[in-house]
Symmetry: D3
Subunit: 73 residues, 6 copies
């Protein structure tokens, strides 16, 4: 009877990949905790990159900053 919410940036995950996430999480809960797949609910939220922040920056700016750091090394 678990409920799982997966939040990722919206960057082109396919229906097949989402199905694999749904099946994989449901199986994980069955295997580890014996949870009944029949009543396991999984939702996937795809969040616009402008609406996702990490390190105090929108995620695309964050990645650009990380890449710049790598280059400087």
């Amino acid at each position: 009877m678990p409920y799982v919410n997966i939040r990722i940036t919206r960057e082109g995950a396919t229906a097949e990949q989402k199905a694999e996430l749904i099946g994989g999480v449901t199986e994980l809960l069955r295997r580890v905790l014996g949870k009944n797949p029949a009543t396991t609910v999984v939702t996937i939220d795809e969040v616009e990159t402008a609406n996702w922040g990490l390190g105090g920056l929108p995620v695309l700016d964050y990645r650009a900053a990380q890449a710049a750091k790598e280059t400087q090394r």
Copy 2:
């Protein structure tokens, strides 16, 4: 002062139906717990069917599998 989040699949709920959900939940919290409607917040998330899983399957596949079972009986 409650906060309620209703998550459903995106399948054509109308503005009237959403208004009825908002009014109904707010009234329920007033009646059962005496919560003040003035500060009760309700949000409705409509989730794409490809992003909603049940029984380890995306929901449209789940429904097709259930329908196939019914037919076999």
Copy 3:
């Protein structure tokens, strides 16, 4: 197949009241949108009053401020 999350302050809601919320929300979704009660999941989160803010204040401070305003009228 809806998922509903109800968040309230932890202030002594009884098991009977919670059961009434669960039954009431599930019935509302069945009546308004035809959702199947068998796969409707409802969770209730009871949040400590120190962890709930309204009007920029923890909720007990907020209520005291509101009460003080009323008295002044």
Copy 4:
């Protein structure tokens, strides 16, 4: 390592404003609790006005009702 979810109505927040929210919340958590910005995640959900309820009404109806009250005074 905090996770912050900000939910607002979808009413034209710009990328600059969202970046300011992300930076502001991350800095607040660093200042108040010493949380590491590098692992602070912030997501912003923009919810359609028809899907946001306050005072038992969809938010645009709520605002119209509030405005009507003001006029009557």
Copy 5:
């Protein structure tokens, strides 16, 4: 950079089982979507059984009803 929230009833999951859920979900997101484990956040919410509803009933009542149905067959 994903965020995953797993909600289960509070019924004695051990620290080892929780660690297995955290590791399993993180690995799933890496394998299916190439998500970086270093910035994948997983939280587990254990919800009191009185606060979890299914089929319009608190979950312990729901299970008792299901068991009674099985017996009648």
Copy 6:
């Protein structure tokens, strides 16, 4: 009318610190987006460290692993 949910590990945040988070986030939303503090709701969820994962590990294991890496340098 925003709703903000702040999730942190349960590690002794004081009532004063929580009040500062509530006031700070509410002020940030007023300043950046002109949101009305009177209807801004903030909740803080304190999650047990065993229930919080980062980098595929429960957070205390994650920190120990990071500290070990630092030592090796």
